[in-house]
Amino acid sequence: MATGATAFLGSASERLLSLSLPFRFFGAAVVFHLAAWGVLALAAGEVADYRGGGGPVLAAVHLLTLGVFTMTAMGASLQLLPVATLQGFAAPRLIGLIWWLFSLGTVILSAGMFLVWHQAMAGGGVLAGLAILLYLWLLLGNLRRGGALRAVVAHGWLSAASLLGLLALGLGLIANQEHDLFADAQRGAAVHMLLAGYGFMGLLAMGFSYVLVPMFALTQVPPAKAALASLGLAVAGLGLALAGVWSGQDGWAAVGAAAGLIAVAIHLGLMVQVLRQRMRKRLGPAFILIRLSWALLPISLLLGIAWAMDNLPDWGGAVFTLSLFAWLLSLLMAILQRIVPFLASMHAATAIKRRPPTVTALTAQVPLSIHLYCHCAAFVLLCAGIIWPVPLLVGLGALTGAVGAAAFAWFFLAAVKKYRAALEKAAA
């Protein structure tokens, strides 16, 4: 291992994890994606009236938030952050251990939630929590050394702080089922969800967008000052919203969400501005999902404000939660479909000197198109099924989502197969 700081930056081998490591996280996310839709289909009758507590709905939610969102965030940040901060991760065994602990923890926790089995929930929660703490240790080590992209690093710090908070709250909520720790567990669960959606995942997604969108579209990074202003407003708004929800002051929650809306307006303005200057003309289907996620983020905040001010009917909470998940899932699926062939092509290019496979060659378009249509149809059906409410529509939505998830798994496996075939051909 290189010892000098400059040596640490230089060669590909020290900044590039073995492809099997990030792909392990992405592969698990693909499987959990399918499982989340499948479990939701089983719980179709309970979705519209769900007000919290154990059961299949809670299991589906955690298969999505832990299994897809956090798993993807871990795999992407462990590979991309060293490049963004010009630092290096050199702990492949630890990363492998994190994957095992987190995968196992997510499976056990979700099974415990599905079966309303408190001991399994506690065991799975502790395993997943341990994996998250180890991941945070790696992440913070990288962020601590600073880097060239101030806005990305600042978002990373605040996202990590949110992750720590939501982990503590999540474990507290599990313990609360047998020992009354919270005066109002439903408010605790709402804070946990907001910290997860807008805090950990939201801030990480916004921060990474400042480097990933320029990288995908081939354009310049937006000015750090504006990105940091957006971050400041987002964090202030989130803090106010959390305090409001925790203490029952709905007005604070609404004002916090409004501040979040201004932060998002700045963020989206920056994204639109950098896209206008892009070098890549054809952005591809991933950007349909990215643009959809950009529309869903402010919609979720508007729904959040209306819900906090009691201006929505009974379905308000469920539709707000749905919009939050739709925003994050759209963005992460877009990132996954760009990053999987990109990383495979990059690894192939470092190993194969003669004609390495291109990103285009590694991207199967048919399954991605199927996924796109199914993804959009699934959320429309779910939304309609919750508003009316018609469990059959919810079930149809979940099954459509599962078909989309299966198509996405096809895309992922095709990329892995083509990458392996290219390596074998080069070795022959």
Binding site: A7, A148, M279, A349
Partner: protein
Amino acid sequence: MTVELTAPNWQAEDGHHIDVRDLPPPEPMLQILALLQSIESGEVIVHHHREPIYLYPELAERGWKHEIIEDATGSGGEIRLRLWPD
């Protein structure tokens, strides 16, 4: 092309040189691609402070090949990359 070529670049006997050592990511990649788009043929020598691994898929997509011709990053120096159209 909407990314302006601002990194120092010059023509020499062995090809067109570009120096992206002081730029934050993803600026080196953008500057190199902007240069490739402007010259379209001939050889390019890139001066960088690290191996530009994220550039490789973009090069492959555009039909350019790469080769490291000098790597002094281990002693705090620069890495030089030769690029040429396939």
